[in-house]
């Protein structure tokens, strides 16, 4: 129960009325990859638009990244997650192109949920995701702490900022060997950490990590589902009012703009 005075209803934003055509604020072009079985690609594209960028659809079977400035590998159940989550998708021609560009440390890449799983299967990020400790799919509002604000995808958060986004997965339990965990912790590469109870048994409460260069970020929860008031998680302002995830997308657009990549 928070006794602080919230805004009056009149100031509470109604559900966003964001037209598809909302003009991009910058020239940032962000690719969103679709694999067979991808589910959150349209959500990721909407998040890019709401953040002011231009979403570019990328198809798994193509190998041409075109002129995109950054890439999102979105969530879902690519190939049904039937073998292992991400195990088949990592071999897609588009993933080969993404890996090539990402490993140079320049192309910002964000993997969300299944996208994170694909990035670990592709060895672009260390560790792996296994079945949740409670063995069930769980959908819930989730508080995270942003512990690294120097990545391309988190630069506009403040250090240790608490954000609420959506968690929904079945194989979301992050695991890695001790050595990897120690390295991640020592190098400050844990980007997002679960706050409150650990929802799936992830090692060290890890929700998201980055590579050494800070251009590749993967996380299990879904920032793209917390970008538009009325359709996000509940927050202090009201029902489904949470938009904390939007900063992930404004961060990358801002880093692209300041680095000149998108100009």
């Amino acid at each position: 129960m928070s006794p602080q005075t919230p805004p009056t209803p009149a100031e509470t934003p109604l559900i966003g009325d964001y037209a598809e055509s909302s003009a991009a604020l910058t020239g940032a072009r962000i690719g969103v990859v679709t694999f067979p079985g991808t589910l959150d690609d349209r959500d990721a594209a909407r998040a890019v638009r709401l953040a002011g960028g231009t979403a570019v659809a990328l198809w798994h079977a193509d190998d041409d990244l075109g002129d995109v400035d950054a890439v999102i590998v979105p969530g879902g159940f690519s190939y049904g997650d039937y073998l292992r989550a991400g195990a088949i998708s990592r071999f897609a021609p588009m993933m080969t192109s993404i890996a090539r560009e990402a490993q140079t440390g320049t192309l910002p890449v964000l993997g969300i949920c299944n996208g994170f799983q694909i990035l670990t299967e592709a060895h672009l990020l260390p560790g792996s995701m296994i079945r949740n400790d409670h063995l069930k799919f769980r959908c819930a509002d989730q508080v995270l702490r942003v512990e690294n604000t120097s990545t391309a995808w988190t630069s506009q958060y403040t250090d240790d900022e608490l954000i609420t986004v959506v968690l929904k997965n079945q194989d979301g339990r992050y695991v890695a060997d001790e050595e990897t965990l120690t390295r991640l912790e020592e190098e400050g590469r844990v980007v997002f950490r679960y706050v409150g109870s650990n929802p799936n048994g992830s090692r060290n409460d890890i929700a998201g990590i980055t590579n050494a260069a800070g251009n590749i970020v993967g996380l299990m929860p879904h920032p793209e589902h917390a970008v538009e008031a009325g359709y996000g998680p509940d927050d202090a302002v009201g029902m489904r009012a949470g938009t904390d995830g939007l900063t992930v997308f404004t961060s990358v657009i801002s880093s692209l703009t300041s680095s000149g990549a998108a100009l």
Binding site: M1, I15, G37, F77, G80, G230
Partner: protein, 778 residues
């Protein structure tokens, strides 16, 4: 391309062979046909049917596909209609799913279906394939599926059968639905011993489309090509028809056909995207999903709804199991398959789209105007029928029905007169304890342990979902145009009075949709009953359908489709009549949706009760808690429901109210508590005014389940405008108190000292949220 084994594996029964061997004994009885039904097939064909024809007729004339027991009653849904009801109706009953105009060039289609028995046999796969089937119905209308809901009914919460069935059903729904990227936005969870061994697993899907994308299941255009695509055909769903394994019927080849259909959500997701791309590129003339009766249904329905004829080669069907006989191929219910009609000019582009998505397909034949459905096997004709006789001219039964012998006695056994009504809670302390007990009871308890296993966010358009009154989905991002949906049924009411019970189910779904702020537009129903061969059950069915049809007429919203599930009984013990009703409503802007709970910023807002409270405890949740079921259900007043709906919709549209929750099971007590549990925000209310105005005591005010009631919360600045509106409409509204965001408690006072109580929200939440996990978690 062909995957079939040489026809030496069985003796092919061709049409000419059938003509030459009129006296061959056929296993029509084993296939479920009655003597007169078989005679009629012979009469239609002028000869004995071939094995393949027998397969088609038997499955298409089954209760499940032909609605032979229910048809004469279901007609009322098409007859009891007004002009108002047809205004927005683009496609009515009869197609895969009804279609309603939403405005701005958008249309919406929705339907509920049952997958009861398969979910009892194999809970995970049964529930999963139930979602798969209803979603394909939606796709085949040309729509993009956008959400699902699941009305579920299980046996007693502590029965071992429930422990086996519920977890599987829930993970099956999640496993399949989550993998399709469809938010699950609501439904019901009911526990009652009548559903032991007969759980009800119903599934609703809703889809949206632009008007021009509407597709119908018909094979039009002579010379157009017929294609089967999606999963390969296996022996799924034909276990009961294993007599067809040997088509000569003179020996019994051991047949290993799967008892259970396994769902493949990945294939279905790919099929959805593939179909939508085909629709967008305008590459299909007609389309039909393959569900019950598989290719038999798809070919006969497509042909009879189109030019009237079709010619296909069955050996071109891609098989998962090459040992299938022609009859089995025709009957197979393998999942994730579609059949389409494509012009020869578009065939190459059609193939390109399927190849892009990695979907297998095979061209089976073409549309003709011969008025005959001809099916060949390696060039030899094994089916030659008028497709209408298969798809539409099945048997129709006027099954006898009569009011059950014990019905009068049942209705005379009222709660008030029963031993269960002795020592009712009266003091504040007793009433408070009774409220907590009610909220912790299985049918009132928190279901988030179940619904948190479903994705409610995917798609980014979910504006409301469980536990709000209705699920709300945005359709058009630029305008906020959207839909609200609710499904309801109180089987206890329906058992006491099926006519009123069906109307009460309709009334509650209607009220839920209106409470969210949506204008009710259309109805889909899933009628779950026992055996139609029992005249007392048939009476329940007939009464429920009559009640629903009359109710829809009064409310002015049409039934656009649905499903009938009969024979839900085991060892002579039938389920309660369970006519689940889904109502779909429309929003100009889902931004105006009304949440069901007091929000944190709403401190000090006024809380009003709309409607009148009578002494209506029969069939109530309170009575259930005391083990009583008898009397007559609450009175139906559809005119009041309509006025209440208008008030709630207008108040939402004009921004007068900030929360609203309908009163149903558990009455005012449940509604008041649920509004606080939603966001952990309390209230201070006084019920003396209600008690005095309606002449009821505190107990009745709290637990009566009188209909056409709702609670709303509104800023004080809106009180005058709001009460002016209710007064103008002559609808009772009474101010109960205020929202209290500081106290963390639900404070209720009564007409006399000591009749009130205060419950800590945390205390209630603890009891309310523990019930289901304590049985099923871990």
């Amino acid at each position: 391309m062909s995957t079939h084994e040489t026809s030496t594996a069985f003796n092919l029964d061709t049409v000419s062979h059938a003509s030459d061997t009129p006296d061959t004994e056929l296993p029509w009885a084993e296939l479920g046909l009655k003597t007169d039904e078989f005679d009629r097939i012979v009469e239609i064909l002028g000869r004995r049917p071939t094995a393949a024809e027998l397969a088609m007729y038997s499955v298409m004339w089954s209760e499940h596909c032909s609605y032979k027991s229910s048809k004469v009653h279901l007609r009322q849904f098409g007859e009891k209609v007004t002009e108002e009801m047809e205004k927005d109706l683009m496609v009515g009953i009869g197609e895969n799913a009804g279609v309603t105009d939403l405005g701005d060039g958008w249309a919406v289609t929705f339907k509920i279906e049952s997958h009861n028995h398969p979910s009892y046999v194999e809970p995970y796969q049964g529930a999963a394939t139930g979602i798969g089937g209803i979603v394909r119905d939606i796709i085949s209308m040309g729509a993009r599926p956008v959400a699902v809901m699941d009305p579920l009914r299980f046996g007693d919460i502590d029965h071992p059968d429930t422990a086996r069935v519920l977890p599987g059903v829930v993970s099956g729904i999640g496993g399949y639905g989550n993998s399709l990227g469809l938010p699950n936005i609501g439904g019901e969870v009911v526990f009652d011993s009548v559903y032991q061994q007969n759980p009800l697993v119903n599934a609703l899907a809703v889809g949206v489309m632009r008007h021009e994308d509407l597709r119908l299941a018909n094979a039009s255009g002579v010379g157009n090509r017929v294609v089967l695509f999606g999963a390969r055909t296996g022996g799924d769903g034909i276990g009961g028809a294993s007599v067809l394994a040997s088509e000569s019927f003179d020996d019994t080849k051991p047949s290993k056909r799967p008892a259970v259909q396994v769902g493949d959500p990945f294939s279905e997701k790919v099929l959805i995207e593939c179909c939508l791309e085909l629709f967008h590129a305008e590459l299909v003339e007609g389309i039909q999903d393959l569900g019950a009766a598989g290719i038999s249904c798809a070919t006969s329905e497509l042909a009879s709804n189109g030019e009237g004829g079709m010619h296909v080669e069955l050996t071109d069907v891609l098989l998962r199991d090459p040992s299938l006989t022609p009859g089995e191929i025709l009957m197979s219910e393998s999942q994730e398959r579609m059949m389409a009609v494509v012009t020869p000019e578009d065939a190459a582009r059609f193939e390109e789209v399927l190849q892009k998505w990695g979907v297998e397909f095979s061209w089976l034949g073409e549309v003709t105007d011969t008025g005959r459905l001809i099916i060949d096997w390696d060039g030899e004709t094994i089916v030659d029928v008028d497709p209408r006789t298969v798809a539409h001219d099945g048997p129709v039964y006027e099954r006898p029905h009569h009011r059950p012998a014990g019905q009068d006695e049942l209705q005379a056994d009222t709660f008030r007169a029963s031993p269960a009504a002795q020592s009712l809670p009266a003091t504040g302390e007793e009433l408070g304890a009774a409220v907590v007990e009610l909220m912790a009871s299985p049918n009132m308890a928190d279901v988030s342990w179940i619904t948190d296993q479903y994705d409610r966010f995917v798609g980014g358009n979910t504006a409301l979902s469980q536990p709000d009154d209705a699920g709300v989905i945005r359709v058009d991002e630029s305008t906020g145009l959207g839909v609200g949906l609710a499904t309801d049924c109180n089987d206890r009411y329906a058992y006491l009075d099926p006519y009123a019970g069906a109307q009460l189910a309709l009334a509650e779904a209607y009220r839920n949709v209106a409470t969210s702020g949506a204008v009710p537009k259309a109805v889909s129903d899933c009628l779950n009953f026992g055996s139609p061969e029992d005249p007392e059950i048939m009476w329940q069915f007939a009464e429920a359908v009559r009640g629903l049809a009359d109710g829809c007429q009064q409310l002015g919203i049409p039934v656009t489709g649905g499903n009938v599930s009969l024979y839900n009984q085991t060892a002579g013990r039938a389920i309660h009549p369970t006519p689940v009703v889904g109502v779909l409503g429309a929003f100009d802007d889902v931004g105006r949706r009304t949440p069901s709970g007091f929000e944190r910023w709403a401190d000090g807002q006024a809380v009003y009760l709309l409607g009148v409270t009578g002494d209506e405890l029969d069939g109530s949740e309170f009575a259930r808690g005391r083990g009583h079921l008898g009397g007559v259900p609450p009175q139906v007043d559809l005119a009041a429901e309509k006025t209440l709906g208008e008030i709630l919709i207008n108040a939402s549209r004009d921004g007068m109210i900030d929360a609203a929750h309908d009163l149903s099971e558990g009455g005012l007590a449940a509604a008041l508590v649920e509004m606080s549990l939603r966001f952990g925000v309390g209230s201070r209310t006084a019920l003396d005014g209600v008690c005095e105005r309606d002449g009821v005591d505190m107990f009745t005010a709290l637990f009566s389940e009188s209909q056409a009631r709702a609670l709303v919360a509104l800023p004080r600045s809106e009180e005058v405008r709001f009460t002016d509106m209710t007064t103008a409409r002559r609808f009772p509204a009474i101010r109960l108190g205020v929202v209290d965001a500081q106290s963390g408690a639900i404070e209720v006072s009564g007409p006399v000292e000591g009749s009130g109580f205060t419950l800590g929200i945390d205390e209630v939440r603890q009891a309310w949220s523990a019930t289901i996990p304590s049985r099923f978690a871990g």
